[in-house]
């Protein structure tokens, strides 16, 4: 296990940080959020040219075959810039699910397009009543001739409205929370019976409630083995969770830096507030929280690719717990140390706070992962 970035990772981090600095200022991001679908297609093409979209995709299918640590390096930089482009939805979750579960034909058919930036995917797994239980799948896929007909609802599907293809989990057998009996399907977002109710999220992204009403698909729409999707879903969710922690590490880093900068310039009682020891200690605790969370995140990222599911789950849950706590502390204290200014929409710190809070919620909050970590001891 290596705790230092290799040369490729250093180069990647440098170029991604440079991109954020040059092309993704806070005000630019605000403009991008107002675009159709809530992100910039132009920037997405840039990501493709830079090879970022290909990064985690297997070499055999048009990608660069990067490790989860490689992708974490990139995600950390994206977190620093509060990037709203659908990297998580399309590449980490979407391409991740196809790479994890798909046949060679499906991988060859879909992944090169993702790597080139021409195909967008969204991962529609979580359901309205599922909370954080991944096994909770009420959506049904009933046999329909040679294919299936899907009926059900999916909740808070990020970037569904701009996706070409939705990866939808549905129950082909078993009862609502059984681990067995869940199957993944590739569904055209524009297919008859698919209805989206789309909305902005509080952290500046876009998501949809996805309603499926007797959506007919052929047998070739099945991704992976019928009824055996849960191990793949868990693997995808774990990898996404640790990558979200990496994104959070970048967001925390930026929030701490902004806060310290503010403390150096904001003058009250005749001196910069950064000279007050009680506030210095708060800032030090924020920095420490970020460092511990980031360290554990990279350690977890390092075991995700090779470990057995139990080891993987414990590593990811530990990182997610640490991230949840650190993100809360840094978000809340970052705003507090900015005083009234921290409450304004014009200051970036509040936006980092919102993103960190929502990352905690995604794929299970700190309490959920604490229970999971304990259960797998």
């Amino acid at each position: 296990m290596s705790f230092a970035f290799n040369d490729d990772q250093k180069l990647l981090a440098e170029s991604a940080d440079r991109f954020i600095l040059d092309d993704y200022a806070f005000e630019t991001r605000r403009k991008i959020m107002a675009m159709e679908g809530g992100f910039s297609r132009e920037i997405w093409s840039q990501f493709a040219e830079l090879g970022w979209l290909a990064l985690p995709i297997p070499e055999a299918h048009g990608g660069l075959g990067g490790s989860t640590v490689d992708t974490a390096v990139l995600m950390e930089c994206l977190g620093r810039g509060l990037v709203v482009e659908p990297y998580l939805a399309a590449v980490v979750l979407g391409a991740g699910a196809v790479a994890e579960a798909g046949s060679d034909a499906q991988k060859n058919g879909i992944l090169p397009g993702v790597a080139e930036g021409t195909t967008l995917l969204a991962f529609a797994h979580v359901e309205p009543k599922a909370r954080f239980n991944l096994n909770h799948v009420e959506t049904r896929a009933a046999k329909d001739g040679a294919g299936y007909a899907l009926t059900g609802a999916k909740a808070v599907v990020h970037n569904a409205e701009s996706a070409d293809t939705l990866i939808v989990s549905a129950r082909t057998s078993g009862s609502v929370t059984d681990a067995d009996g869940v199957t993944l399907f590739l569904i055209d977002r524009a297919a008859a019976g698919v209805t989206l109710r789309s909305y902005p999220t509080i952290d500046g992204l876009r998501a949809s409630e996805v309603m499926l009403d007797g959506v007919k698909v052929g047998a070739d729409a099945v991704l992976g083995e019928v009824g055996k999707a849960m191990p793949a879903v868990e693997a995808v969710a774990d990898r996404a969770s640790v990558l979200l922690c990496a994104e959070a590490a970048g967001a925390m880093d930026a929030a701490v830096k902004l806060t310290v900068e503010y403390m150096k310039t904001r003058v009250q009682f005749g001196r910069p507030i950064g000279e007050f020891q009680v506030l210095q200690h708060r800032a030090v605790e924020m920095l420490g929280a970020k460092e511990f969370s980031r360290a554990l995140t990279y350690r977890a990222a390092g075991v995700v690719d090779g470990a057995n599911p139990r080891e993987r789950a414990r590593a990811v849950s530990a990182a997610k717990v640490e991230m949840g706590r650190a993100g809360r502390k840094i978000g809340q204290d970052g705003v507090q140390l900015h005083g009234g200014m921290g409450m304004t929409d014009d200051m970036a710190v509040g936006h980092y706070f919102k993103r960190l809070t929502m990352i905690d919620v995604m794929f299970g909050n700190a309490d959920h992962h604490m229970r999971r970590f304990a259960r797998l001891a």
Binding site: R131, A155, V156, A207, Q336, G340, D367
Partner: protein, 398 residues
């Protein structure tokens, strides 16, 4: 742990409860409970209802339209109002400026403003903070220069809550900067409906616009609108902040929000069981409830001291700190309770006249915005760090 009430107090509680049940309109109740924004008209209409009943300003002296309630009765009243979903009475008039006018104002000011405050004829806002003067309020620079029978005021106030509705502002201004900073401050009552007053909304991180910048440019304020002596405004401001801290504790509202959290946690399912049965969640709920019980106990103690003639001392700062910690803790648990439905941001759902189906459970829409919005509570009214400085200095003598 319920408060133990005497038969007389029980009778009083029942009377209050009955009144509220009959008079809080259903849609106002729903909005207040779910943290949706009320319009100016809705606020004013409810305050007028309280005024007609004689309950708009329980803490004022009876001769000015207050009540002779005991501290326990005032507390019961607050708690019942909160649990009935009655909108909180806006503090700026009744709780903040009125005690200052009562104690330091002229007879003419009392005769004119106090009845108007009771009837909600004026909507007050607070002109304290400035861009360069937040925690260090005494450094404020908005200048008031005496010119015949008027002051001419120039400067900028900020974080002015609900200034967009206000027609009056109580304002700290600098009339002298030759001596100690605290000694050149003057307390003025400014009519907002005049040229030179510009209100500019500030969008907060939850996307709402309830705070403002207020620009004052050659604003004319008659000398008769000065409260007390020129240069003594700092003393009056401190007096006011002491009063604010007992109301900022908001015990009743926190109790009502805690009850709402419980209701939601009973509905939310986690792995096939209600969230409220989860041990980790129960422990967090219990911690907040105990913090709130301790807060309530200290509030009651401070209120009794007040009725015995002792004004709220610097210990009141503890009420602000604990009160806001409890409020923020509850908002945090509400976010946890709703799981994935913290994500959608649909501000229209919180407005009057929105008739679409909710996204996720109906109670979810306002929860995350409110969590982010309520981070202001540990910043406003003297940040919690400043409250600790006050206690260190004034109580501990450090």
């Amino acid at each position: 742990m319920e408060l133990i009430l005497t038969p007389a107090e029980q009778k009083f509680r029942d009377e209050v409860r009955e009144f509220l049940a009959a008079n809080v309109p259903e849609d106002i109740k729903r909005k207040t409970m779910t943290g949706y924004r009320l319009s100016k008209e809705e606020h004013v209409s409810w305050q007028k209802t309280l005024y007609e009943k004689g309950w708009i300003a329980p803490s004022w002296p009876v001769e000015h339209g207050g009540t002779d309630w005991t501290p326990m009765q005032k507390h019961i009243f607050q708690e019942e109002c909160a649990s009935a979903g009655a909108p909180p009475v806006l503090a700026f008039g009744v709780v903040m400026v009125a005690p200052v006018i009562l104690k330091f104002g002229t007879q003419k000011q009392k005769d004119y403003y106090l009845p108007r405050i009771l009837r909600s004829d004026d909507w007050w806002c607070q002109g304290y903070s400035e861009p360069g003067s937040g925690s260090d309020l005494a450094s404020l620079r908005t200048k008031a220069v005496l010119n015949g029978d008027h002051y001419i005021v120039n400067g900028q106030k900020t974080w002015t809550t609900m200034a967009q509705h206000a027609n009056m502002m109580f304002c700290l201004t600098r009339t002298d900067d030759s001596g100690k900073r605290q000694e050149g401050i003057t307390f003025l009552l400014i009519d907002m409906d005049q040229p030179g007053v510009t209100v500019q909304p500030i969008t907060t991180i939850d996307g709402s616009q309830e705070i403002n910048n207020v620009f004052l440019e050659d604003v004319k304020v008659p000398v008769e609108n000065r409260v007390g002596e020129e240069g003594k405004g700092w003393t009056y401001a401190k007096y006011l902040l002491g009063h604010e801290r007992t109301s900022i504790a908001a015990v009743g509202r926190s109790k009502a929000q805690l009850a709402r959290l419980r209701d939601i946690a009973k509905v939310e399912q986690q792995d096939g069981r209600p969230l409220i049965e989860d041990e980790a969640f129960q422990k967090k709920l219990a911690e907040i409830e105990i913090d709130l019980l301790a807060l309530e106990s200290l509030v009651l103690r401070v209120l009794s001291d007040e009725s015995a003639g002792k004004g709220p001392g610097p210990e009141a700062s503890f009420l602000k700190i604990r009160g806001t910690e409890v409020q923020q803790g509850i908002t945090e648990l509400l976010v946890e309770a709703i799981g994935n439905y913290a994500h959608p941001y649909v501000p229209e759902a919180m407005q009057t006249g929105w008739n679409e189906d909710p996204i996720g459970p109906e109670y979810a829409a306002s929860i995350a915005p409110h969590y982010f919005n309520w981070r202001k509570a540990s910043i406003y009214g003297g940040s919690n760090e400043i409250q600790k400085n006050i206690i260190a200095k004034a109580v501990l003598g450090l």
